[in-house]
C-alpha cells in the first residue's frame, strides 16, 4: 500500500488538464504513442469537443521512481463544471492528493477555487502546477503570487510544466510520489469502498468505479451497496489500466472496478459505500448525498409519432446517467414527451446532444425552469417543476424560489459591469474581497432562475471572458413569481410558458416576442405574437403574411430539381408544430434560450 498514490487534477476548463494527463500516461509508458489519441481520458466525443470531462474516469499509471521502486499512481479524473460539483467532491474523497493545475496565461478561476476548497476539506495534499509556461502571455510570477496567497505554500513548492511539450512532467511525477501520502487503511478490516463513478457498457451492464478505504474485495464475493441495501455478486473485479484489467482481488488503498450485472444506473449512486454482505462495515463512508435536479425542462420528439422511440432512448440514457430524472408529460403544442430534471444548464445541453449523437434523436427542449414551491390558501405545499403545475394565483398564498450563492472571480476593472449584471438579475452583493491586487472575488445571493437562461454568456461578454463563476444552492425564499404565456393568433403555446418574477415579465415577454418574430417563418397569413400574464397582454409583435413563394422557371430541366426542393420543404414543414393555424419550427421552442439584449 505504501507504493500507491491516489490523486486527481483540479483545473479550470481549458487549463490543460487532459493534455497534462496524456503526458503523464505517455511519460510512464502507460500508453504507447501508437495508442495515443489526444486527451485519452475524455472518451466521449462530446467531451472531446467541449473540452470538458463530463464523467469522471480513472486510470492506473505504473511508475518507476528515482528510488528505483515501482509505484502505482491512480489518476482519478474529475468533471470540471459547476453542474457536477457533487461528483467532483466524491472523486476528491477517493484521493490523498491533488494537482492544482493553473494556466499561466489565465490565472486562478472561480471553479478552481471552489474545487480546491473541496480538496482542502477532504485533507488532500495539494501540489500546485503552473501549466502552459511556454505560451506567449504566460504570467508565471503573478500566478505564483495567486497560488501562494491562496494555499499558503512556498513559492519553490510550485511546479512549472507544459502539457503541450511535456516540459516539467517528470518533476510532477516525482512530486506525486514524494509529496502525496500513501493511502492508509486495513486490508483485513470489513470492506469499505467508495463509489466515485460508474459507466454503462451495453455488454457488461454498469461498471462501478471505487476506491477501497479498508478491506479487500475478491472475485465472486457477495457485495452490498449500503445506501440502496442491494446485494450483488462480484462477477468481475479489476483495476483500471487504459482498459479494464481483471484481478482476483483488489485491496485497501487501491482503485478498481466491479461488474455485477447491474443494468440500471439508478441502483448505483456516486458516494455510496460498497461492503461485503457477509461481513459488512459498521459505517457508511460519509459525504453521501442523493443528487437532486436543479433545472427542469420538457423534452419532446420532433415528430409526435417518435415518442416511443424517444422513451426507449431516455431509458437507455438514464442507465448511464443516473443524475437525469424524467417523467411523462404532455403538451398541447408538442404532444407526448418528458419532464426532465437536470443538474444544471450544461447537463441539460449535454443530455440533448447525447440524445442527438448517440441515439439519433432530434428533440425539442422547452423553456427550462427551476423548481418552485407554492403554498396554497388551503395550506398545502406544492412543488412546481413545470409551468402547467403553477397553481391558480387566486388560490395561492405564496411562492418560494430557490436561491444560490454565486462566487465570481474577475479583474477589478470589471466589478462595475458585474454589479450591473447581477443586480439586474435580482442579485444581492454579500461580499467583495481582493484575492490578489489584480483578482477580486464577488459573492452574490441570487435567484437560481436568473442564471438559468443566459447568465454565463452575459458574464463572459461583460468581462471579455475575464470572469469565472461558481454557485451553490442556499435554499428557498419568498418571491413574486408569475406565469407568462405566449399566444400565437390567440392560441396559447403551452411549451413556451415560463415562470418568472413579476418585475421581469414585461421585459422578458417583449424579448421573447421579438425573438419569435425572427424565428417564425412568414406564413400565408398574418401572425400575432403576444405575451400575457393572466389575461393581460404585456407584449406584442406581428408577422406580416408572406408575399411571394414561387419559382420563376419550371421547364423540362427544372422539374425534378424543383419537385425535390418542394418535397424537402414539405419535409421541413412536417417537422413544424401546428399551433392553431400557425406552423412553428422547432427553433422557436428554443427561442427563450437564445434571448439577448
Amino acid at each position: 500500500m505504501k507504493n500507491i498514490r491516489n490523486f486527481c487534477i483540479i483545473a479550470h476548463i481549458d487549463h490543460g488538464k487532459s493534455t497534462l494527463a496524456d503526458r503523464l500516461l505517455q511519460q510512464t509508458n502507460t500508453i504507447s504513442d501508437r495508442d495515443m489519441m489526444d486527451q485519452v481520458l475524455d472518451d466521449m466525443d462530446l467531451e472531446r469537443e467541449k473540452g470538458i470531462t463530463i464523467k469522471s474516469h480513472a486510470i492506473q499509471i505504473n511508475y518507476k521512481h528515482a528510488d528505483n521502486k515501482d509505484y502505482v499512481l491512480n489518476l482519478i479524473d474529475t468533471p470540471g463544471h459547476v453542474d457536477f460539483s457533487y461528483e467532483v467532491s466524491r472523486a476528491l474523497a477517493a484521493c490523498e492528493g491533488a494537482l492544482l493545475l493553473v494556466d499561466a496565461t489565465q490565472g486562478i478561476q472561480a471553479q478552481t477555487i471552489s474545487n480546491l476548497y473541496l480538496a482542502i476539506e477532504n485533507d488532500l495534499e495539494i501540489i500546485p502546477v503552473i501549466n502552459k509556461i511556454d505560451m506567449d502571455g504566460a504570467m508565471i510570477e503573478e500566478v505564483e503570487d495567486q497560488i501562494v496567497d491562496l494555499i499558503g505554500c512556498k513559492r519553490e513548492d510550485i511546479l512549472h510544466a507544459s502539457g503541450r511539450t511535456g516540459l516539467g512532467v517528470d518533476k510532477v511525477l516525482d512530486a506525486i510520489v514524494n509529496r502525496i501520502p500513501a493511502p492508509e487503511g486495513n486490508e483485513e478490516a470489513p470492506l469499505q469502498a467508495l463509489i466515485f463513478d460508474s459507466v454503462f457498457n451495453s455488454f457488461r451492464g454498469i461498471i462501478v468505479y471505487y476506491r477501497i478505504l479498508n478491506g479487500t474485495i475478491r472475485k465472486n464475493d457477495i457485495v452490498k451497496f449500503v445506501s440502496t441495501d442491494q446485494q450483488y455478486g462480484a462477477d468481475e473485479i479489476g483495476i483500471l489500466k487504459l482498459k479494464m484489467t481483471e484481478r482476483k482481488e483488489v485491496k485497501a488503498g487501491d482503485v478498481g472496478y466491479i461488474i455485477t450485472g447491474i443494468k440500471n444506473a439508478k441502483e448505483v449512486k456516486v458516494g455510496d459505500t460498497i461492503t461485503l454482505a457477509a461481513n459488512p462495515t459498521p459505517e457508511q463512508i460519509k459525504g453521501f448525498e442523493e443528487v437532486k435536479p436543479m433545472v427542469f425542462a420538457g423534452i419532446y420528439p420532433v415528430n409526435t409519432d417518435e415518442f416511443e422511440e424517444l422513451r426507449d432512448c431516455m431509458d437507455k440514457l438514464q442507465l448511464n446517467d443516473a443524475s437525469l430524472t424524467y417523467e411523462l408529460e404532455t403538451s398541447q403544442a408538442l404532444g407526448f414527451g418528458f419532464r426532465c430534471g437536470f443538474l444544471g444548464m450544461l447537463h441539460m445541453e449535454i443530455i440533448q446532444e447525447r440524445l442527438e449523437r448517440e441515439f439519433d434523436q432530434t428533440v425539442i427542449t422547452t423553456v427550462p425552469n427551476v423548481s418552485f414551491i407554492a403554498h396554497t390558501t388551503k395550506g398545502e405545499t406544492v412543488q412546481v417543476n413545470n409551468p402547467t403545475e403553477f397553481p391558480d394565483p387566486v388560490k395561492t398564498e405564496s411562492i418560494e424560489e430557490p436561491f444560490i450563492k454565486a462566487q465570481i472571480i474577475t479583474k477589478p476593472d470589471y466589478i462595475g459591469n458585474i454589479m450591473t449584471l447581477c443586480l439586474g438579475k435580482r442579485g444581492l452583493l454579500i461580499n467583495q474581497s481582493y484575492l490578489t491586487p489584480t483578482r477580486v472575488e464577488l459573492i452574490f445571493e441570487m435567484p437560481l432562475t436568473e442564471i438559468v437562461f443566459d447568465f454565463y454568456d452575459k458574464l463572459k461578454s461583460q468581462t471579455r471572458g475575464y470572469a469565472s463563476f461558481d454557485y451553490h444552492p442556499i435554499g428557498y425564499r419568498d418571491s413574486d413569481i408569475v406565469k407568462m404565456d405566449i399566444l400565437l393568433n390567440g392560441d396559447k403555446v403551452d411549451a413556451l410558458s415560463a415562470l418568472i418574477h413579476r418585475s421581469r415579465a414585461q421585459d422578458f415577454g417583449r424579448k421573447l416576442c421579438e425573438k419569435l418574430k425572427e424565428l417564425l417563418p412568414r406564413q400565408q397569413f398574418q401572425i400575432a405574437i403576444q405575451a400575457a400574464v393572466g389575461a393581460k397582454v404585456i407584449a406584442r409583435e406581428t408577422i406580416s403574411a408572406m408575399r411571394k413563394d414561387v419559382t420563376a422557371k419550371c421547364y423540362g430541366g427544372d422539374i425534378s430539381r424543383k419537385r425535390k426542393l418542394l418535397e424537402k420543404q414539405k419535409e421541413g414543414k412536417k417537422r413544424m408544430r401546428q399551433i392553431g393555424n400557425v406552423e412553428v419550427p422547432q427553433e422557436a421552442f428554443l427561442a427563450v434560450l437564445k434571448l439577448d439584449d
Binding site: 400565408q524 397569413f525 408572406m546 408575399r547 411571394k548 413563394d549 414561387v550 419559382t551 420563376a552 422557371k553 419550371c554 421547364y555 423540362g556 430541366g557 422539374i559 425534378s560 424543383k562 419537385r563 418542394l566 418535397e567 420543404q569 414539405k570 414543414k573
Partner: protein, 386 residues
C-alpha cells in the same frame, strides 16, 4: 406526340444570375455539335421504347446557353439529324433562343430558311444600367433595334424580361412591358430575378457588394404585370408566361401537360411519362462519351407519388390549373382506389386555400388566384404526398 429540346451550352459571357449549364469558351463548339448529332442518332438505341412511344415530334426547341451562336449550317445539320431519327410532324413549332447582339437581317433570313418558326429573344430589360448590372452581352439599343428588326421577319416572337431586380423601379418595369406591348409581340416570359446557388449574383450578395432581392418588391411587380398584360389581351397561361390567343409556346406547354420529351446536349433532360433522365452537365465529358458511342445520362424512375406531386406542382402554375380527375388517367403504376383517395385528399386539403382566397375550385378543377400564384410553391408543397 413529343417535343425535342436541344441544349447549346455556349455563351459569349456569363450573366450574373444564370445557373444553367454553359461555357464561355467556344473552343469545342464543332466537337459539341458533332456530339449532339451523334446523341440524336444514338437515342433510338439507348431508349428504343421511349422513341417508339413518343409518336411524332410536334415541337423542337433550341435553348441554352446561346443557340444564336450556331451557324446556319449547324442548325440545319441538327434539324436534318432530327428528321432522320424521328418522325417530325408537319407544322411543327421550332423555336430558337436568340440574343439581341446576334440578331441581324442576314441571320433572321437564315433562320427562316432553316425552318425556325418562333424566335425567343433574351431582352431582359431595355435599360442600359439593368443590362450592365446583369452582365448581359447586349446593350440597350441592341435590345430595342433587334426586336424591331425581328418583327419584320417573324410573327411568332417571344421575349424574356426580368423584374424584381434592385434597380428596377415600378416605373421602369412598366416602360419595359409597354415597349413589348407596343411592338405587338404576342408572347412574353417574365421572370422574377432569382438568386441561384453558385452564381456570381449569389456571391456578390453574400459579400454585400449587391443588395439582396426584396420579395415584397418582386410580388408587387408581379401583381402589376398581371394587370398590365391582362389589359393588353394576354392570357396568363403559366406563372411566368403570357401569350396572345394562339401564341402559347407549344413546346413549353407540353412540359406542363406531362407529355414526353427528349433533351439533347449536356445537362438536357428527357421524360417519357414515368422516367426522367438527364445528360451530364459537362461539355468535354459529354463529347468524349458520345464519341465512344454512349449517352452519358442519369435516370430516375418516378414513383406514382412523385408523378402526382409533379402534376400538382406543374399544373397549379398553369391557367387551367390542376384537373384532379386527370390523375386517374395519367398516373402510372398505382391502384385505382389509391389514386381516388389521393384525389379526394387534394380536394379536401384545398379547402383552406379556397377560404384564404388563394384558390378557386370548379368541380374537380383547382386554380390559383392572383394572390395564390404568388405562393404557388408553398401551396404545392402543402399538397404533396409522402
Amino acid at each position: 406526340m413529343s417535343g425535342i429540346y436541344i441544349h447549346i451550352p455556349f455563351c459569349k459571357q456569363a450573366c450574373h444570375y444564370c445557373n444553367f449549364h454553359f461555357s464561355t469558351s467556344l473552343r469545342y463548339k464543332n466537337e459539341l455539335i458533332a456530339a449532339l448529332l451523334g446523341e440524336i442518332s444514338l437515342t433510338k438505341d439507348f431508349f428504343p421504347e421511349a422513341v417508339k412511344n413518343a409518336g411524332a415530334v410536334e415541337t423542337i426547341y433550341f435553348g441554352g446557353g446561346t443557340p444564336s451562336l450556331c451557324t446556319k449550317e449547324e442548325i440545319d445539320a441538327i434539324l436534318s439529324q432530327i428528321s432522320a431519327s424521328f418522325e417530325v410532324a408537319a407544322g411543327a413549332e421550332i423555336t430558337l433562343e436568340a440574343n439581341p447582339d446576334d440578331i441581324t437581317e442576314e441571320r433572321l433570313l437564315q433562320w427562316k430558311d432553316s425552318g425556325i418558326t418562333r424566335l425567343s429573344i433574351g431582352i431582359q430589360s431595355f435599360f442600359e444600367e439593368d443590362l450592365v448590372w446583369m452582365n448581359r452581352a447586349h446593350n440597350s439599343s441592341q435590345a430595342w433595334n433587334s426586336l424591331q428588326l425581328a418583327t419584320k421577319y417573324f410573327d411568332n416572337i417571344t421575349i424574356d424580361l426580368i423584374y424584381g431586380t434592385p434597380g428596377l423601379t415600378d416605373d421602369k418595369w412598366k416602360q419595359n412591358v409597354d415597349r413589348v406591348i407596343s411592338l405587338g409581340i404576342p408572347h412574353i416570359s417574365c421572370y422574377a430575378l432569382t438568386v441561384e446557388p453558385k452564381t456570381p449574383l449569389q456571391k456578390m450578395i453574400r459579400e454585400h457588394k449587391l443588395a439582396d432581392v426584396d420579395p415584397d418588391h418582386q410580388s408587387a411587380q408581379f401583381l402589376l404585370l398581371m394587370t398590365w398584360l391582362a389589359d393588353a389581351g394576354f392570357e396568363h397561361y403559366e406563372i411566368s408566361n403570357f401569350a396572345k390567343p394562339g401564341f402559347r409556346s407549344r413546346h413549353n406547354s407540353s412540359y406542363w401537360k406531362g407529355k414526353p420529351y427528349f433533351g439533347f446536349g449536356p445537362s438536357a433532360h428527357s421524360f417519357d411519362g414515368e422516367s426522367r433522365w438527364w445528360n451530364i452537365a459537362n461539355n468535354t465529358t459529354y463529347i468524349r462519351s458520345i464519341e465512344q458511342g454512349a449517352i452519358p445520362y442519369e435516370k430516375e424512375v418516378l414513383t406514382p407519388v412523385q408523378q402526382v406531386n409533379e402534376m400538382i406542382m406543374i399544373s397549379l402554375r398553369t391557367l387551367e390549373g390542376l384537373d384532379t380527375s386527370r390523375l386517374i388517367q395519367q398516373i402510372k403504376g398505382i391502384a385505382q382506389d389509391e389514386i381516388l383517395r389521393m384525389k379526394q385528399t387534394i380536394l379536401e386539403e384545398s379547402a383552406r386555400y379556397i377560404s384564404n382566397g388563394l384558390m378557386v375550385r370548379e368541380g374537380d378543377w383547382l386554380r390559383l388566384t392572383y394572390e395564390g400564384k404568388l405562393l404557388a410553391d408553398g401551396i404545392a408543397a402543402d399538397l404533396f404526398f409522402d
